[in-house]
Subunit: 138 residues, 3 copies
Amino acid sequence: MRQASAILSFDTPGRGFTDITRAMAEWQRGTGIAEGLLTLLCRHTSASLLIQENAAREVRTDLAAWLDRIAPEGPHYAHDDEGADDMPAHLRATLTGVNLQVPVLAGRMALGTWQAIYLAEHRRMPHRREIAVHLIGA
Amino acid sequence: MRQASAILSFDTPGRGFTDITRAMAEWQRGTGIAEGLLTLLCRHTSASLLIQENAAREVRTDLAAWLDRIAPEGPHYAHDDEGADDMPAHLRATLTGVNLQVPVLAGRMALGTWQAIYLAEHRRMPHRREIAVHLIGA
Amino acid sequence: MRQASAILSFDTPGRGFTDITRAMAEWQRGTGIAEGLLTLLCRHTSASLLIQENAAREVRTDLAAWLDRIAPEGPHYAHDDEGADDMPAHLRATLTGVNLQVPVLAGRMALGTWQAIYLAEHRRMPHRREIAVHLIGA
């Protein structure tokens, strides 16, 4: 039994969802751990992680529109140090969460057929985001 | 230190919450691992996992009604390939999440007294759902 | 490779966010495990865990107000055994979730610069809350 960990960086183009599934699979394979548990932590409070559908692009369009409705920009926030998109970004990150776990079985992440791992950027501007990754197993 | 993993299947009766606590406890006991970390991943994008109250049935009734309000069906989605319940199911799965972790202590899952593990089905029709489970410990 | 686990208790002053980052770091250091995976489970259904900004206090003010809007008190719930704040507390706990994971690297939790770990109390009255913690590594 052993473990591996790293801090990986990803550049986001501003608000939206960046598919990091392939990068995660490559990192996992590089560790040589074929059976175990992969954990991700997004090290930010206005970006987050989620697993969602990888096929129909409209799912991400609708998801972004729903986040806009459920945590809208507006003048009603006490916190707006970095602009109108600041506090809604914290709320959307809270709703979606900063952690993910994926069991690794027979050398591969045990994701479902239609699942991809997305880094969700909630700020309007591009950012460089860090994800702490950890894999334990054999 | 060792680990165990499996893909377990559950049949859901359509929208609602299926208590899988007992199945998880049985699988955990079957591994013989008495101290460790249990992780679940729901391998779908329109079903999810949550830990909530196991006593008052009304909690699940109110939770279902709230999910209906917060991510309603309607004509405003771009994605409706599989019907009006398709996109709301993705949103509700995103809100509740596809992962859970439960420490195992002294041979038992360390859930609180009133906590149960639920598989949440967000589609109207019955489905067979897969959960990847992983347990590491001793 | 080894593991440690415990049930930790925290007193909350009623609704709001209690920063437990320092307590988690102290517990982690006490285990002597310098590289590994830390997992938390809140053993309640009306309190939860989240990682959010530790600098601007207004972020927590806005977050509390948003939870009030998105899961408001009101006469429309079937479940109100313990008062008007009972069911909204279950909803807010469901939205934010009961689990967190933090990789431990070089002796320290790999949180981002602006991240803190909060125990979120969703009931109006003070409560004693239990968190199951587990750390595996070396």
